[in-house]
Point group: C2
Chain length 174, copies 2
């Protein structure tokens, strides 16, 4: 076994459940989920099972065509500004991991320009490490399912051989 | 056990793998995946592992606030027409199931207005039943991972208790 952390789908599903319980217990009543693509798609869709809200998506990529880090995230798809779908709304922004925090900061600053009532952040995993990005002052509610040490995480949806992956996760009690 | 079909996440993942193999073997080289929300989010994200493409999303709902069927699908989020992100492109439209075909037909007719080069359809499951919706004549490539008899399907992301769900799926060899 290598040094990477493997998560099974069932473990991810239960981490989303835990995350949903933290959000509900805090009393935050969001109007809409905004999923950051593509890492946030699966957590957001599972979250919708526990917190029934419409899902909007924003697509970002942090790497260029040669898979090198870009200087800043590039928008793949964005919420149609004309319809101002988040203005005055309570938003729950969902991604899979708070790692460097660069994508989250970029995304939050862009969304704040649409004048939402509030934006809260919900991620499956918060990696315990120094962050390059920072949460804007407007962000008061940050939810995570689980904290992780700073190791490479392998999510089930990224795996080619799911049977092998689920077995590796099982051996790690994940 | 009731009459419903339960699918585990691992089975879904492998059905997406099979679907990707059918698409690749057919020689269809898409430029972009368009996922129909929210059922298509998880299949599309897994598909990206096997066919590396950007994912755009379109959000639709077929039911009104009282959970009654609406007369036609309502747009939750749509691709920004101004940027014409699919004009001249080869699109792979992804959803979880071809059931009544109403959502797929609606979505295809709307997307065809943006003048894509081609649109192909990829669904996890095709239910063997009379369809209410119809594929527009422009649609020549339709891929499905598996054909199912017309029974209620329980997808893992819709389940509250994932451990119980995965056990039910295991008993059905799913």
């Amino acid at each position: 076994m290598d040094d990477r952390i493997y998560f099974s789908y069932a473990k991810i599903h239960n981490t989303v459940k835990l995350l949903s319980e933290k959000i509900i217990e805090s009393g935050y009543h969001a109007d809409v989920i905004v999923a950051i693509g593509t890492g946030g798609f699966i957590p957001a869709r599972i979250l919708k099972t526990y917190i029934k809200l419409p899902i909007l998506t924003v697509g970002l990529k942090l790497y260029d065509e040669n898979n090198n880090p870009a200087s800043r995230p590039k928008k793949i798809q964005w919420i149609d500004e004309v319809e101002q779908k988040i203005t005055g709304k309570r938003v729950l922004l969902v991604d899979e991991v708070d790692d460097s925090r660069i994508t989250l900061e970029y995304c939050l600053r862009e969304l704040l320009r649409h004048d939402p009532e509030e934006i809260a952040v919900a991620v499956l995993h918060n990696k315990l490490k120094d962050k390059i990005g920072h949460y804007p002052d407007e962000i008061g509610r940050i939810y995570f399912g689980e904290e992780l040490e700073d190791r490479w995480v392998v999510y089930p949806w990224d795996t080619i051989d799911i049977i092998d992956h689920e077995e590796k996760a099982r051996l790690q009690n994940n």
